[in-house]
């Protein structure tokens, strides 16, 4: 054994040679609830399940360059919407959860388990009887399971997000519609810790989701194919 210093040291045998957006969230929720409540006769609710993939949240360089992004995640959502003239307005809440992974040349490392809440309001316009397009405004709320020792140590970000989507639907009997939706959304990302560490600017984060949906058709619309 060796003791490299009289004060403090490490020893190895010599023989070894091997080498805040919460108010906004409230607004979004109220808008959605208001939209559904405004016209109960045409209000409808639905559920969604699918997959969401995301671009990099952070690019950094320690020894080598690497990137950090959320793994593809299972997404679950609920929607509520009502008719407004020839449009539909609605509110949605989607939650996805997966590991936040760093990828560098020598391998991968897990930063934390990451839950992303995405409340939004949207405007949907039928383009065909079976196809509609939608525009969306919402928030991305990041909720990591571990904050200490991560980029979320000094706070978890809430970012505004915009999105576009297409939805195709097919009726299942009189009361239900089965659909498939593809969404794209965009938001900026940074955290207080990243800024404190000297990162400047923010990353544009692109997300694409594919969601199956099931919604209840309002009574007033059931006779109309």
């Amino acid at each position: 054994m060796i003791t490299p210093s009289p004060g403090a040291g490490v020893s190895l045998p010599l023989s070894t040679r091997r080498r805040s957006g919460l108010p906004l969230l409230g607004v979004v929720t109220l808008l959605g609830a208001g939209a559904v409540a405004a016209s109960p006769a045409s209000a409808q609710v639905g559920v969604q399940v699918g997959l969401v993939v995301s671009s990099n949240l952070v690019s950094d360089s320690i020894v080598d360059r690497f990137s950090v992004r959320a793994n593809p995640a299972l997404a679950l959502g609920v929607t509520g919407e009502t008719r407004l003239d020839r449009y539909r307005v609605g509110a949605a809440l989607t939650v996805s959860r997966s590991d936040l992974i760093g990828r560098e040349p020598q391998g991968e490392f897990t930063v934390t388990r990451l839950t992303i809440w995405h409340p939004s309001v949207y405007l949907r316009q039928p383009l065909r009887p079976w196809l509609s397009g939608e525009a969306r405004l919402g928030l991305m709320i990041y909720s990591p399971s571990v904050r200490a020792g991560t980029l979320f140590r000094d706070g978890t970000p809430v970012h505004p997000a915009v999105g576009l989507g297409l939805r195709v639907e097919r009726r299942l009997g009189q009361a239900l519609a089965l659909g498939f939706a593809g969404h794209y959304d965009l938001h900026r990302f940074s955290t207080p810790r990243l800024r404190a560490e000297g990162f400047t600017g923010q990353t544009y984060v692109h997300r694409v989701s594919a969601l199956f949906s099931l919604r209840r058709i309002p009574v007033g619309e059931r006779a109309t194919p």
């Binding site: 490490v10 091997r18 020894v63 080598d64 020792g149 980029l151 990243l194």
Partner: protein, 207 residues
Amino acid sequence: MALAALLAAGCGAVTVPDRPDPYAFEEQQTGIVFHWPADRLPVRYWVDPAAGPVAGYIARGLEAWEEQFLYGEFRAVPVTDSSEADVVVRVVGATPADVPLTNDPPIFACGGVTRYDAPDAANRFPRPPVVELSWDSGYSEVDVANCLFRVAVHEVGHSLGILAHSPDEFDLMNANPRVAAPSVRDRATAEALYHTVPTVLPPERPR
């Protein structure tokens, strides 16, 4: 549209901060590079109950080191069962007095060492590293406590894999630590270590 404009406003290219150059983290005589792999986190630290206040110093040291990382590269937890330990911490001799720490100038009233056994044929440490702290009864209780705290945090740095000393006297990982918290160079070194492929694996995890 307004929100789209908001998204675009003020959004320049992301720049990565300049980090200080790390000092050497590999063991100087053998070249061994070691850090705890991601599948071994959190690292489990057991502190001998006879170490008294040192358990608290180690806990604060673990927290201080964890906070150096941005991407969760190192995490640790205390355990109460020594058979579960990834790292063992002991105090040589009598239990030191538990007195409040102060900001007095550093007095070298104690010492510490982190012992790793030679790697086995599989390039794996055969046993958990052992941190040993000792103290000199010729100093005041508060000087001993301040010294043990500094050295405990320093030895945590060795136990997470920094197997060398910084040449800078203002770094925690200097051989004779005068400060009680990692410096920016200590941080840069720990970060660089955890983004370097190790040459030796940790011991098999105790069951």
